[in-house]
């Protein structure tokens, strides 16, 4: 095990919790020998990317959504809009490599997705990697069980320098972030997201049947605590 673990419960605001992700990149650049694994949760919110934030109707739509109990937070990793909350587990891994040795986009996604799948298999499940069309924030490295997405993965990268004993080295810091819907009323989050997107001038409809929580897909057999334990066990035996 070469990484350090940080756990975080929902803080004062979802915005602050999500912004804290960016500090991980700085920390990884400062100490490339010690990647950081962060397991965290946020208070209830709709997470979107900056692409939406420049639309003229974004601000009034976000204010209206917040008044309904669904504040809108702009995240700095890639991807599309998605509902999150205290019943969503976020898993982040920040690491820095010399620029010529940094993993490519696909390699970083694959490595991270394989690790999460190892943990799901250890829980007796049969995860599959591949885009789930119609889901929130779809991507080639979605993780699904029985055709229903439970995990989405995105990345953020920053180029920088690490000052070592032999001078400065050009580095690439990579933050890979997964969100896993553990339990709760996912449909309510999707309803809130669709309403916000319509009001923001970017209407979208999602296929509810192609997404689910770990709890509903496993009929309660696999809890969040069990998955977390499996995840850390898989991480302990792997080089993240």
């Amino acid at each position: 095990m070469n990484w350090s673990l940080r756990r975080q419960s929902p803080g004062a605001s979802a915005e602050a919790d999500i912004d804290a992700e960016m500090a991980l990149l700085d920390a990884a650049l400062a100490d490339p020998a010690r990647p950081i694994l962060r397991l965290w949760r946020v208070s209830r919110c709709l997470v979107v990317t900056p692409l939406l934030a420049h639309r003229p109707r974004f601000r009034p739509a976000a204010d209206a959504s917040a008044a309904r109990g669904w504040p809108v937070v702009v995240r700095r990793t890639g991807g599309g809009p998605v509902p999150q909350g205290p019943e969503t587990l976020s898993i982040s891994l920040a690491a820095a490599h010399a620029r010529e040795a940094a993993p490519g986009i696909d390699a970083a996604f694959r490595h991270f997705a394989d690790w999460i799948c190892d943990a799901l298999r250890a829980c007796g499940l049969a995860p599959e990697i591949g885009e789930i069309a119609g889901s929130c924030c779809p991507g080639r490295y979605d993780i699904a069980i029985g055709g229903r997405k439970i995990v989405g993965i995105a990345q953020r990268r920053r180029q920088g320098r690490h000052q070592g004993g032999h001078g400065a080295t050009l580095m690439t810091a990579t933050l890979v972030h997964a969100m896993l819907w553990l339990e709760g009323d996912l449909a309510a989050g999707i309803d809130a997201l669709e309403r916000f997107l319509g009001e923001a001038g970017a209407p979208e409809r999602f296929a509810r049947a192609r997404m689910g929580t770990l709890e509903e897909i496993t009929a309660g057999r696999v809890t969040g605590a069990r998955f977390e334990a499996a995840l850390l066990a898989a991480a302990a035996s792997a080089t993240l």
Binding site: T49, L51, R76, G78, I105, R140, A154, Q155, R156, R157
Partner: protein
């Protein structure tokens, strides 16, 4: 003299198109060398783009318009 701001060819390896997800300055703003001027996105992956020199930023590619690695998306006068 105007300095082009290309998307570095080594920013990612795969042959994938990118987009600007956000310009962090307005067209015509004055920027300093090293300022984070834009966020780029390639297949659910975001990248920082910093200013190569100080000057006045001219935005050439608007958000959501696809580009390739190496394309010039801004200039600094």
């Amino acid at each position: 003299m105007s300095t082009p701001v290309p998307v570095p060819r080594d920013l990612w390896e795969e042959d994938l198109p990118g987009i600007v997800s956000a310009w962090l300055f307005e067209d015509g703003d004055t920027v300093s060398e090293g300022d984070l001027i834009a966020e780029l996105m390639v297949e659910k992956t975001s990248y920082d783009l910093t200013a190569p020199k100080a000057g006045r930023l001219r935005i050439l590619v608007q958000p959501e318009i696809p580009f390739q690695r190496g394309d010039v998306i801004a200039s600094i006068e």
